[in-house]
């Protein structure tokens, strides 16, 4: 039987997946700094996980080094957006021209992405030929190497003390603008000829090679593209926090991105949004457990780290029981966002009829779908 499903109605998709989220975001951002900070973090998490998915979900490699590219982006952004006086104080060894250079955030983001991509290229050429586990460990090594450089180049990075006083330029509208553009670009990439080649390589590299796909250039290019967006996300992160230092861009950060990506579903860009939703808001809900709280007159002791523990257990359960992540490889979200039909549906009569048809109560079937 071919019943009309709600999700097939352009209009429903417009309302549920586009308008409602926009309203929620706008309302949340106006609820004060606490909420707007969470929403910003969420959006950056989406960008991070989606860009990681390009490599881990669509190319068949498994990188864990995203924090390294974030760090590059964040520091380059500091170079480009701080005032000359700030730079003279914290980064005395910068060349004069760079000290004097100061630009707005949006153009700076492009340079952040490019810098991260260049680092990815330098590390990728030797490392991407490694197979499986060795590649993963090498990307962890990249984090260690970048951290060591940051902590030890005092004249450029202010060493382990980090850089303070970054301008808080990354407001929610800026972040969401960058996020939407980035997602659109990534979505076009995976839906292009190039992206199909990538998926072919993931599914069967030998067969892909025999079809004339150049594995090496594919692997390196997607690694660089992924790093580009990680660099952009890192820069945004820096401008939200206004303080950056090497210790932030270490294993914990990298694993968190991996975790978001897995929970949402590595093989889906939309999965990043779902994963980020989970990983941003659930820990916030669990936060009272961390500091200890009183319920019915009983004071629970503070359980430092409990939310990380719960999320780790959740990750193990996901990997055991739903290995493809919550969203699998579905792209419903992004498809709705980036297809014309979603928006033109507003002006089509037939769409309203379709929606009514789908909303009409159906004869109740037994609930078991199996």
């Amino acid at each position: 039987m071919n019943t009309l499903r709600l999700r097939d109605c352009g209009l429903f998709r417009l309302v549920a997946l586009v308008i409602v989220p926009i309203i929620i975001v706008v309302v949340a951002c106006n609820q004060g700094t606490y909420y707007s900070a969470i929403v910003s973090t969420f959006a950056i998490n989406v960008l991070l996980a989606a860009s990681l998915n390009l490599v881990n979900g669509f190319s068949g490699m498994f990188s864990m080094g995203h924090a390294a590219f974030m760090a590059v982006g964040a520091y380059i952004s500091a170079f480009l957006t701080l005032t000359p006086t700030q730079k003279e104080n914290m980064m005395p060894d910068l060349p004069q021209w760079l000290t004097n250079l100061q630009m707005p955030l949006l153009p700076a983001l492009i340079f952040c992405g490019i810098a991260a991509a260049i680092v990815a290229l330098i590390i990728g050429v030797p490392v991407l030929r490694f197979k499986g586990h060795y590649l993963s460990v090498a990307t962890l090594g990249l984090i260690v190497i970048v951290r060591a450089v940051l902590d030890n180049s005092d004249g450029f990075t202010n060493g382990p003390r980090g850089v303070t006083g970054l301008p808080a330029l990354a407001t929610p509208p800026v972040i969401f603008l960058v996020l939407i553009i980035s997602l659109f670009v990534m979505f076009r990439i995976i839906r292009s000829q190039y992206g199909r080649g990538l998926i072919a390589m993931r599914d069967d590299d030998v067969a892909a090679q025999s079809l004339g796909i150049n594995l090496v250039s594919k692997k390196i290019s997607i690694f660089c593209i992924s790093a580009f967006f990680a660099g952009v996300a890192g820069a945004l992160w820096g401008h939200v926090q206004t303080v950056i230092s090497g210790q932030f861009f270490y294993f914990t950060m990298s694993f968190k991105v991996v975790q978001i990506s897995i929970i949402g579903g590595m093989a889906s860009l939309s999965g990043a949004a779902i994963g980020a939703l989970f990983m941003t808001f659930v820990p916030e809900l669990l936060a009272p457990l961390e500091s200890g709280f009183t319920i019915f007159g009983v004071t629970l002791p503070s359980l430092y780290g409990i939310s990380n523990i719960i999320m780790a257990v959740f990750l193990i359960l996901v990997i055991i029981f739903r290995r493809q992540g919550l969203l699998g490889s579905s792209e419903l979200l992004l498809e709705s966002w980036f297809s014309k039909e979603t928006y033109t549906s507003l002006f089509k009569k037939s769409e309203y009829k379709k929606l009514l048809g789908a909303l009409k109560p159906k004869p109740r079937k037994a609930k078991s779908k199996k």
């Binding site: 498994f62 864990m64 030797p126 490392v127 490694f130 499986g132 586990h133 060795y134 993963s136 460990v137 090498a138 962890l140 090594g141 990249l142 260690v144 190497i145 951290r147 060591a148 450089v149 902590d151 030890n152 294993f251 694993f255 991996v258 975790q259 897995i262 359980l303 430092y304 780290g305 409990i306 990380n308 523990i309 999320m311 780790a312 257990v313 990750l315 193990i316 990997i319 055991i320 290995r323």
Partner: protein, 298 residues
């Protein structure tokens, strides 16, 4: 730079290398059978240390019995991790277990932070261990001697187990061909549990050596040394007992010489140095320096 300084640096390298070697052996035997990088392995080391601290400070138990308890607890934790986080993923592919081990590592680190607080704690061994002994120009602490002895005993004992016992032969069979081993009636799960138990017990001992040297411990202390030990196992040729030991010693000595002989502006890169060594080694020897190419893997 005096010869004595170089020698003492060399000894420090061998000591650190011994710790890596002991941890690397655990990585290696598990990886040999399951093709799993157990990221939580380094954290088992931390658990062992905290158990020791707990029993040393809260009971008057003699040190040797504290060590036994800590090894036992670590073995139990290691086996439980295998049972609940890795066994359900036996047929799921390398990536899934890798992720699971990452989650376990996060879990253990946070659990330790929750129970013992994230702050550093002092960890003192009795004076007996820090006593220095002079052998010509070579100066060794009791701890140094015990560490070297532990590595030698471990190598001999594991060689005997692997070569002479039934479970050891089964282990070698499993790491070569899991399906063919099942056709012999070998239960892979038994062998895998055994491998985890051995690896975890050794990790606890390595933790003791590491903590004795640093004199402070914290819940995250095991992760990076664990990662370096994995590098050591890979450098030596993963899956091989002697490769893991050799790799551990090579990495340990290289790291200490790097830290001790290079100008101070560079020495802060010693953690990064280990990974650079790993990447360089893998570029020239994809199977590690002492490893042979893996033949079959079906």
């Amino acid at each position: 730079m005096s010869a004595e300084y170089i020698i003492s640096q060399l000894i420090n390298g061998l000591r650190l290398g011994s710790v890596y070697a002991i941890v690397a052996v655990g990585y290696s035997i598990v990886y040999g059978i399951l093709r799993l990088i157990n990221f939580a392995h380094g954290d088992i080391m931390t658990i062992g240390v905290y158990i020791m601290l707990l029993f040393m400070t809260s009971t008057g138990m003699p040190l040797w019995s504290v060590i036994v308890v800590s090894v036992l607890v670590s073995v139990i934790v290691g086996v439980l991790i295998e049972r609940f986080a890795y066994r359900p993923l036996r047929s799921a592919g390398e990536e899934a277990t890798l992720i699971s081990s990452l989650a376990v590592s996060t879990l253990l680190q946070n659990l330790l932070q929750m129970i013992f607080s994230p702050q550093k704690k002092a960890f003192y061994l009795p004076d007996f261990f820090t006593q220095q002994h002079q052998f010509g120009i070579v100066k060794l602490s009791t701890m140094n001697i015990l560490t070297f002895a532990a590595v030698i005993i471990m190598v001999i004992a594991l060689t005997l187990v692997v070569q002479k016992t039934k479970i050891g032969t089964a282990m070698r069979a499993c790491s070569e061909n899991l399906d063919a081993s099942r056709l012999m009636g070998i239960k892979p799960n038994q062998v895998i549990v055994f491998a985890f138990a051995v690896g975890s017990g050794l990790a606890a001992l390595a933790g003791l050596m590491l903590a004795g040297e640093y004199k402070t411990i914290d819940p995250l202390m095991g992760f990076v040394p664990g990662l370096k030990a994995f590098c050591a196992a890979v450098v030596g040729g993963i899956g091989s007992l002697y490769g893991a030991v050799a790799g551990g010693l090579v990495i340990g000595v290289a790291e200490m010489l790097f830290a001790g002989l290079m100008p101070t502006s560079v020495t802060a890169y010693r953690d990064a140095f280990v990974f650079v060594v790993l990447i360089v080694v893998l570029l020239f020897w994809p199977n590690g320096i002492f490893g042979r190419s893996e033949g079959r893997r079906s």
